[in-house]
């Protein structure tokens, strides 16, 4: 099924910025898994009406039949690589990929070159996002200078900058020094910030190449034990509780981590957590022929972990899905496993993987997907205009998703500059048909506008 | 139609071979082997016995008592024949005759045309072949390529005084300038026929079978009627 765009007045859809849009007959997720079919009228960047009413005069009409309308997706964990590694990704290419994946906001991770540890760098990234215009770009600030783990970066200056940083992370590295972590957690309270921890005990993971278990034992690859993640999460939950701060845990990957988070939340600790799409689907036995497409940090774990992560995301122990979109040039993966870069692209496959692993399994309904992929990450990142319900008066950030088609992943079709997907040739459900950023289509008919 | 007919069954190592059925049982039939029900026996057990006895006597005559001979069979059935000949000669002369086996797999000129295969056994008598008169023994002489390979193999093992060739069946169609010194039976054949020697030690009975080649175009049947895997 193709979804055509026509205008009532005959004006060209692509020309200029349409002030009015009429989405006809899309399905809006409601409570209890119900889907309500309605027309969505968009005017001046906001949702004007959700009703049975027909299109207003001069509105661009979008056929929404068979499509699910979701609030625009928000990613808490995106590597846009600019500045420094523009050969892998740029803010422009990464946000194009985001829009294609149904995202209207992404958080750009700080491990660029130079590191986003000053107001200057985060403002540069923020400005590049504004200029590209495919989705909102909210820079994540580094916790420590140069992500070196020894001295705090100027967190306040980044918070006060135009980039309005609220999420701080040394992602790629763990803030392993307990005292430094405590201070960071305390310090960001002043501006309602959150420390997003990459939980990896460094001594336990020296030279680590993959999940430590039966597969690593057979393959002779140095193991990345689950306990190295769980020990840090447990410590940080205790620290966050002690100082009364917000903690966010990046890319939770083990069943034990889910247990610790469940316990911490039950005690009222202000901890939130994310899981990546790949950790919801893939397992460490894929490593068996040493294809670096499956090399990622934290590593792919076991089927038991995957089940625990799905259950944790379903019951809210894990608050949200974040892509950890990590583009790498071809040569970074065309090597021996041990020398290959860690990471996978994920923006353009995230919603389909969540559909496959959470919706088709009955673990989440579409309202749950809206919560985990839009509302929750927006709340964690303190984004006021993202992750809002599809109701009159709200900003018109939304995604139209066709759940019906199934297709094999073809990296050549990616908008991202990089192709390092672990889903090559895998059949995934669904397709993002349209993405609206404040009422303006960034994607229509599955194509970038 | 294979480009290069050769004379004997493909040698196969003693370990990879399906064990032969007990002596006196029904004829053995290995996997992939042609059905011999349509085959015609051109020599039966007594014919083969007589032929070998005659060859044994000819060897003794031509080698003036065979005092320095070594019989080397080419696996698989050539080895059986060499052992039988050695026993015949011993019966006549009252002294043991050194005999052994000479595997030619690594010297074949058609190695690249077929999958690598298990090796047969090479086992020389303790005194070796230097200065001796070596009689190569095989079951069927066809293109001559196996004998060519055997001569090469022998050259790498030592320097015999002379080399002769004993064969149970010569079916003609030589592709190389090679002839046998001792022949059990000359058997004119067409290239559309296969010749198969069965020996009790290997196959449960003694016979030489003549059969039509299974003539399915493109089926890739090999010269001895076996599928090349």
């Amino acid at each position: 099924m193709t979804h055509t765009v026509t205008t009532e007045t005959g004006a060209a859809a692509g020309g200029g910025r349409p002030r009015r849009l009429h989405i006809a007959g899309a399905a809006l997720p409601g409570p209890g898994g119900a889907l309500r079919t309605a027309n969505i009228a968009v005017e001046d960047g906001r949702i004007a009406e959700v009703s049975d009413a027909g299109p207003a005069a001069g509105a661009v009409r979008v056929d929404g039949s068979g499509l699910i309308a979701l609030p625009g997706l928000v990613d808490l964990h995106t590597h846009l690589r600019e500045p420094g590694r523009e050969d892998a990704e740029t803010v422009a290419s990464g946000t194009r990929a985001a829009a294609r994946g149904g995202f209207t906001a992404v958080h750009a991770m700080a491990n660029t070159d130079p590191v986003a540890d000053t107001a200057g760098v985060v403002e540069q990234v923020w400005r590049l996002g504004q200029e590209a215009g495919h989705c909102d770009v909210w820079p994540v600030g580094a916790v420590t200078q140069g992500i070196a783990g020894s001295r705090l970066a100027e967190l306040g200056a980044m918070a006060d900058s135009k980039a309005r940083v609220r999420v701080f992370s040394d992602d790629g590295h763990c803030v392993s020094d307990a005292l430094l972590m405590r201070r960071a957690l305390e310090y960001v309270k002043a501006f309602d910030g959150v420390i997003a921890q990459h939980a990896q005990e460094p001594r336990l993971t020296e030279g680590a190449q993959m999940n430590e278990g039966a597969v690593s034992a057979r393959l002779g690859l140095a193991g990345w034990p689950a306990v190295a993640e769980e020990a840090i999460i447990a410590r940080d939950c205790l620290l966050a509780a002690h100082v009364g701060s917000r903690l966010h845990v990046c890319h939770v990957s083990t069943a034990g981590s889910v247990e610790i988070l469940r316990w911490a939340k039950s005690r009222g600790t202000q901890v939130t957590a994310e899981v990546t799409p790949h950790h919801l689907l893939l397992t460490d036995d894929l490593v068996q022929h040493y294809d670096p497409a499956y090399k990622v940090n934290p590593p792919l774990r076991t089927a038991e972990d995957v089940h625990a992560l799905r259950a944790g995301l379903a019951d809210g122990t894990i608050d949200c899905v974040a892509t950890d979109h990590a583009p790498h040039p071809v040569e970074a993966k065309e090597s021996e496993w041990s020398y290959a870069a860690m990471g996978m692209v994920g923006l353009e496959t995230a919603l389909s993987v969540v559909h496959l692993t959470m919706v088709e399994t009955g673990l989440l309904d579409w309202a749950g997907v809206a919560e985990r992929m839009s509302a929750a990450p927006a709340r964690i990142g303190r984004l006021a205009t993202q992750g809002r319900p599809l109701e009159p008066g709200e900003p018109a950030n939304l995604t139209l998703y066709d759940p019906a088609p199934r297709g094999r992943v073809d990296p050549r079709s990616f908008a991202s500059k990089s192709r390092n997907t672990p889903y090559l040739g895998i059949e995934l459900p669904g397709r993002v048909v349209a993405t609206l950023l404040r009422g303006r289509p960034t994607v229509l008919d599955g194509k970038l506008v | 139609m294979p480009a290069e007919p050769a004379e004997s069954a493909a040698p196969s190592g003693p370990w990879s071979q399906t064990p032969a059925p007990p002596s006196g049982g029904p004829p053995g039939r290995r996997e992939g082997e042609q059905d011999h029900t349509s085959a015609r026996a051109v020599l039966e057990g007594p014919d083969i016995r007589r032929a070998l006895t005659r060859i044994a006597h000819e060897i003794l005559e031509r080698t003036k008592g065979g005092t320095d001979i070594v019989l080397l069979g080419i696996p698989t059935r050539g080895v059986t024949l060499a052992e039988r000949l050695a026993r015949r000669i011993e019966e006549v002369e009252g002294r043991p005759v050194p005999w052994g086996s000479l595997d030619i797999t690594m010297y074949r000129d058609d190695l690249r045309l077929r999958p690598a295969r298990a090796l047969g056994r090479t086992e020389l008598p303790p005194d070796g072949v230097d200065g001796r008169l070596v009689v190569l023994v095989d079951d069927v002489l066809f293109s001559g390529r196996t004998v060519r390979a055997a001569l090469d193999a022998l050259g790498d093992l030592g320097r015999p005084r002379a080399v002769q060739l004993a064969i149970l069946v010569d079916r003609g169609h030589r592709q190389l300038p090679i002839r046998a010194d001792y022949v059990g039976k000359n058997l004119p054949t067409s290239l559309r026929e296969t010749v198969k020697v069965q020996l009790a030690e290997n196959d449960g009975r003694d016979a030489v079978l003549l059969d039509k080649r299974a003539d399915t175009p493109g089926a890739g049947r090999e010269r001895d009627g076996r599928d090349p895997r």
Binding site: L219, Y290, E336 | W15, S16, M106, A116
Partner: protein
């Protein structure tokens, strides 16, 4: 099976075929002409990213005895940051028309990557801490020659199993061949999940020795104690080293093996290494025969002779 990368890929019949072929080829070393024409016109490249003169010479001798052309390609200090990538090296080998590539690499799994980029057969001559299948084959060959069988043979492998490609290949191959393997090591030098391997695990060498037909001592690097795998060389040697006194606990016909190079005085005492029970010198000679067999069976025909058997 085009490549030999993991001993676990060998079926029982493949493994037996290799050992039987090696048995025949072992004679070549005793002949006046120590050469067979079998691989004439074929090119075998020894691609060594890690120094190992012993293994390289063994493969080189094997290939040359089969009349192959041998090219030695040593890459020093391999890493993506320095010099040529594995892929570019592979493309170079392709251009040279390599029929077989023997690869030694410090990164586990490198042969699998190489196999994606070359058309010829890839033979793993040791990759990181993964596998060293021809070493396991020559060990099995040596055991069968000395003890006459492999089925139900009790083999005890002692030492740094965690970092040992020899141990991984031996466990897989010996299991396939019906032997009973016991690993003996300090728990720090056994991989997590070793209980998923087809073998027994023990921590006490003295109680394992009387039940061993073969004891295989693995090399232990002294540097391991810096990473807290064991407190000191002296303590390691006392608990897991094989000296004459311990050797006396072995059954009368039991043999002692070591893949080399040895740390005399660390995992093995000099009087053990030089005793008649020791097969260490034979292992070297057997290595050539086994590698000839592998080269012949992979490169000798129109297609490889391995991989056709039952699993």
């Amino acid at each position: 099976m085009l490549h030999l990368i993991s001993a676990a890929d060998l079926s029982h019949s493949d493994a037996v075929l290799i050992l039987d072929t090696a048995e025949e080829l072992a004679q070549v070393g005793d002949r006046s002409v120590k050469k067979l024409p079998t691989l004439r016109g074929r090119t075998v490249v020894n691609l060594f990213f890690e120094d190992s003169t012993r293994t390289r010479i063994s493969f080189e001798a094997a290939a040359k005895r089969l009349s192959a052309d041998v090219l030695n390609f040593a890459v020093k200090g391999s890493s993506v940051s320095k010099g040529e990538s594995l892929k570019d090296t592979a493309l170079t080998l392709e251009a040279m028309g390599a029929d077989g590539v023997v690869i030694r690499h410090n990164a586990s799994g490198a042969p699998y990557r190489l196999a994606e980029w070359v058309r010829g057969s890839v033979i793993n001559a040791g990759d990181g801490t993964h596998e060293h299948p021809t070493q396991a084959l020559l060990d099995a060959f040596t055991m069968r020659r000395r003890l006459g069988r492999l089925a139900d043979l009790r083999v005890t492998i002692v030492g740094d199993v965690l970092h040992s490609r020899v141990a991984r290949s031996n466990v897989a191959l010996l299991h396939t061949l019906g032997a009973q393997v016991t690993l003996v090591a300090p728990p720090t030098l056994l991989p997590v999940a070793v209980e998923t391997w087809p073998c027994e695990v023990a921590y006490d060498l003295d109680s394992a020795l009387p039940k061993s037909d073969v004891v295989m001592m693995l090399r232990v690097q002294r540097e391991r104690m810096q990473a807290a795998y064991f407190p000191s060389a002296r303590e390691y040697s006392r608990r897991y080293g094989l000296d004459a006194e311990r050797m006396a606990r072995l059954p009368d016909d039991a043999i002692v093996m070591h893949p080399g190079p040895m740390n005399r005085g660390m995992e093995i005492a000099a009087e053990v290494a030089d005793s008649p029970r020791s097969t260490i010198v034979e292992q070297v000679a057997n290595g050539v025969s086994v590698r000839m067999a592998v080269l012949y069976l992979l490169l000798g025909g129109s297609e490889p002779a391995l991989g056709g058997g039952e699993r």
